[in-house]
Subunit: 305 residues, 3 copies
Amino acid sequence: MQLKHIIESQQFTVPLLMELFERTRQMEKVVARGGTRDYEDKIMATLFYKPSTRTRFSFEASMHRLGGKVITTERANEFSSEVRGEHLEDTIRIISNCSDVIVLRHTEEGAAKRAAQVSGVPVINAGEGAGGQHPTQALLDLYTIYKECKALNGLSVALIGALDNGRTARSLAYLLSKFERVKLYFIAPPGLQIKPDILSYLDHHRVEYELGESLEKILSQVDVVYRTHIDRERLQRRDIDLSTYNINVDTLKKMKSNAIIMHPLPRSVEIDPAVDNDPRAVYFSQSRNGLFVRMALLTLLFENE
Amino acid sequence: MQLKHIIESQQFTVPLLMELFERTRQMEKVVARGGTRDYEDKIMATLFYKPSTRTRFSFEASMHRLGGKVITTERANEFSSEVRGEHLEDTIRIISNCSDVIVLRHTEEGAAKRAAQVSGVPVINAGEGAGGQHPTQALLDLYTIYKECKALNGLSVALIGALDNGRTARSLAYLLSKFERVKLYFIAPPGLQIKPDILSYLDHHRVEYELGESLEKILSQVDVVYRTHIDRERLQRRDIDLSTYNINVDTLKKMKSNAIIMHPLPRSVEIDPAVDNDPRAVYFSQSRNGLFVRMALLTLLFENE
Amino acid sequence: MQLKHIIESQQFTVPLLMELFERTRQMEKVVARGGTRDYEDKIMATLFYKPSTRTRFSFEASMHRLGGKVITTERANEFSSEVRGEHLEDTIRIISNCSDVIVLRHTEEGAAKRAAQVSGVPVINAGEGAGGQHPTQALLDLYTIYKECKALNGLSVALIGALDNGRTARSLAYLLSKFERVKLYFIAPPGLQIKPDILSYLDHHRVEYELGESLEKILSQVDVVYRTHIDRERLQRRDIDLSTYNINVDTLKKMKSNAIIMHPLPRSVEIDPAVDNDPRAVYFSQSRNGLFVRMALLTLLFENE
């Protein structure tokens, strides 16, 4: 299995996903017994041009649980001369000289691909641009669905939020489209619905989907309720009641008894803390799965060196 | 001995303090022989909402001397979406998913307590708010007094500085009140004297104390001269000569021959560098004791998992 | 061989340089076989008062390849109370209490020397001030020349760029002056030529040199073309065509077949990426040599404890 860089969701085939998830399950066991030292000669460079403490901590903890080392910056843009015309390419070449894997968060779409072209070591896209990809988030989301629902074929999944530039929802839609008999519900306030490029992609891959503005209407039909953030300031109309998109104790009553509630976290008002103790609320273990998926990805990358 | 979190000075009983100090002495030996690898499967997350390089470095070095790993941010506030209404509680839940202990410095009083309530791993308060607590500083201060004076009962301790919002002095007063025949001198410029809540606490625990504005008057009577910072801009009167609170070669002449001079560092003009070589100046070993006390605290927390 | 601190290029004698380079060659082999764990009980503190991700990463990766630990800040100035009159000296004393080596980047010339005077552990100058030194950069430059040209005696070296406050060029000139039959060409636009203190130093040590404004004239005569940055905004005349100082495919044709092209990186327009694949372009391996030289320096410092 060739895995040289992790740039976008599209590069993952179903067999590769299954191998990844098998490896992820192994990593859960590795962590349970206190981690490993197998990768103690490896150095991860986390190069963040935009801060994201949670994503960075998840990657760095993954590396530490594998026994590896980390060098890190969360403000690469300020600490760099790139503002004066320096190439991202040169930075990557230099950093690949003193690390074994580069985890890149960048402000521009396509940055991870450019980095991979010149890097001497694997590059992992840890999120880029506003509408760009964040493939490891999508992979941990998919793993969570797989683990909680015991399947990926035949699932109905509702993606709810500001979907037009929702990196998380977009990447997950790509991944889910690879499975059979999946049905996607895109639920967004007017003006923030998912963009046509995703719909064309789904049409092309014959994936069933529905667009809607009401969460309530579809609640009883879905296996997965995936809620993301809505930036109120981007709404065109002021009369929209965003609270109808929130998850609370009433929402729970209308959901299937074995459905799950997901959220990429951090949340604001989207999910009432009163929901946290319901067994269907899986967003905290979803965040924990990030650790295991990232450990699995790292070991797959290191194997191919 | 149950030690699940380290939130405030008040939680430490005399037996627990004695156990901690015995452990701290062991840690001095552990460091002398190059540290240990006993905790190499542990990850510390240092989550600082306000920067403090010295405190952070002390915690992180403690973890490294124990063989452990560290993930760190010194600007959690900027790197977070909490400004947009995110819960500290969610952040702590996420970070406790990828670490074994969380060291939290926060801008709000009560943050460490809130964090401890939802965290799956031990939380250590590394300082919070203006008038809040900084218990590990108080513990290293107390350890320094114990080590240098060979006792805690029967001591006379002068706390000098802007005591009204002096986190260090307040926390240390709490701890000292647990010992017998302790006498506290609170020496502060007008308007910056220690607040009544501490005095009520001391009254309740029958601890002897005196309030004053003159350092010189009490210098010959005390075993410990603990000088903290005075922020000149908070003085109400402009005619106050702050230099009378400074420690210099003249001060030394008026002190007991076996008294000690402490300071939480960094200092500004409070202590003349000419004092540094006097054997009574213990502020540099006081700072070093922070390493040992924090190592001891970490091992006590890890034992109780 | 006594090496207690690394403050400036001048402290390196020819025998010490040769010992360092022999050690550096060993470190290349150590890295090739996955690093060592010999220094796992050592902690490096990287204390940067001004950010420089690349230099910091190189130092930290060196420490990790040796098995050591790192505590780090890239904004020591903001995170410090030194703005309120705190002493650098106290900071260094505190940090030397919880580390085994301090890597200091500071905004003021002379800071590393001041730090070394009070530090209980070795201090490495990682660059200071505008016209100050950056000795490890100079050492890795010299090692690169030595490795690529198989010699240091008898070389002709062109230093090109804004040489008046070019830390890199100044430090390298100091080091090269220690070798025999070296000839230096200082090529700079009007107003940015190397300062008289360096020329006096070269005169005193009987090193041959030439000053010039044209790169083209001397290209065919030199073994090393060392290009550094030119800050356009500091030029006094607007009619100067800076592109004549750039390295491109045409430049290559005029160079000796065995000459080398160096650059401290990051570059802007100074070197055309079309040059990167020419065997004479050694700037990427130059940057990689930083890792090996810094590992070698660390082991020499730790030996002398």
